[in-house]
Subunit: 227 residues, 2 copies
DNA sequence: CGAACTATTAACTATCCAGTGAGTTAACTC
DNA sequence: GAGTTAACTCACTGGATAGTTAATAGTTCG
């Protein structure tokens, strides 16, 4: 193949000013891709559309993230990392066990409400059977602190004879998470089917209190064999 | 004995036997499309692939369902209808209120486990903001019986002084649903993050009992202002 | 400075994929 | 058994879309 004189014309200079800033470019792409993937899903999102919404070009997405899936994984990893940072701020060890449980429940509740995009990404990732999350190095460590916090609270509560002793931190976590995730993730179909808005202010308040009541009444109940 | 059937028809006939059966064709498409949409999502599923897995051709999908979204909606409507039929079988009115609550919880638990594809479709529909479900005529009526059943149980429990009186049937439904849906819908990311399989047999048994305990201890708790 | 490297731009391509045009045959009607 | 309609087949299309090729310009560092 004799690479003859390429007929490709030289690109005409349109943008005279061009500053380099790899970090900003990367963050720009990641930010746009996050909302786009959260909005449309992995297969629903369009690379061209993501690129169009950034200050850079499509080619840069591939330059930095390899391919569509690579970009999606970066978005996922980034989202979990941001969540971790935020959660690291929480401290409930100074509260008595019952107040601490209620605080954790309410913080989780508020947190999920404040990050619907994150909930959407999690739902999307689960429809893909979590394969991309599993591929992210050290992702499990992200969630340790949450379980450890619950573990400390439960231990204190048991010592004081307030809580039943056959409940694990993971049990409590599942109970709280399921409630909070469901409220955000399934609000659309739920709203249609039951004509009841899980996120309407008055309902929100009700559910927030209810969650605390639920978890505490379960922890206080004497034994698992209650009938 | 293989009879020489090969020479029985005119050579120009490409499809020697072709029986018409619109109902079967339609059901065939719907069946394949259901698993395909549940598996890959609305944007992830491929019309060509769905068609390939049916006994008919792509053109027929369009003949019967108009377009991809029309097929998806038919799948959704059909899935909800089947679920309704199954749930209509349940009768817990002969049980005492506490046993009835536990029965509803466990039936829901088992039901979700038995229909992961349905849970997936619901999750997918929620990532699409429930627009397609909302477009299905009379879909809300589907869920009435579930709430009515809970309403009857709660009324009986209140009369006997067993349950607190500020809990609505929808509250209980949310509590049960969120737990059961979460366990199936989020099992992948949860499994990765906490190294704990929500669907493993021993964990399943534990969670199933726990859910009943949670709902009952909440209903038995004296009042909402418990601190 | 200038060579080497990194970031960036623009144009291009191959394939995928939802949707169609147009005709054919089975079954039903009278 | 001719006419009509519903069910069905086959081949095709054009636009969308992930990913690439290759040239260019800012940055770094000897």
């Amino acid at each position: 193949m004799a690479p003859a004189e390429t007929a490709r014309k030289a690109p005409t200079r349109t943008t005279p000013k061009r500053t380099r800033n790899p970090e900003r470019t990367r963050e720009d792409i990641l930010r746009v891709a996050t909302t786009e993937f959260a909005d449309k899903g992995l297969s629903g999102a369009r690379i061209d559309e993501i690129a169009a919404k950034t200050a850079t070009t499509k080619r840069m997405l591939y330059y930095y993230f390899g391919d569509k899936e690579g970009l999606y994984r970066a978005v996922l990893a980034n989202a979990y990392q941001e969540i971790r940072h935020e959660e690291a701020q929480v401290d409930v060890d100074h509260l008595d066990p019952e107040a601490a449980i209620r605080a954790v429940a309410e913080i989780t509740f508020d947190h999920h409400e404040a990050h619907p995009d994150f909930i959407r990404l999690v739902a999307i990732e689960n429809t893909h059977r979590g394969e991309n999350l599993a591929a992210i190095e050290g992702i499990a460590e992200t969630q340790r602190p949450a379980v450890e916090t619950l573990d400390r609270i439960l231990a204190r509560g048991r010592e004081l004879g307030l809580f039943r002793d056959d409940v694990t931190p993971l049990d409590v976590h599942i109970l709280i998470s399921s409630f909070c995730v469901f409220r955000i993730a399934n609000r659309y179909t739920f709203g249609t089917l039951f004509d009841w808005d899980l996120t309407a202010p008055e309902n929100r308040t009700h559910l927030r209190t209810m969650l605390g009541d639920v978890v505490l009444s379960y922890l206080r109940s004497n034994t698992g064999h209650d009938d």
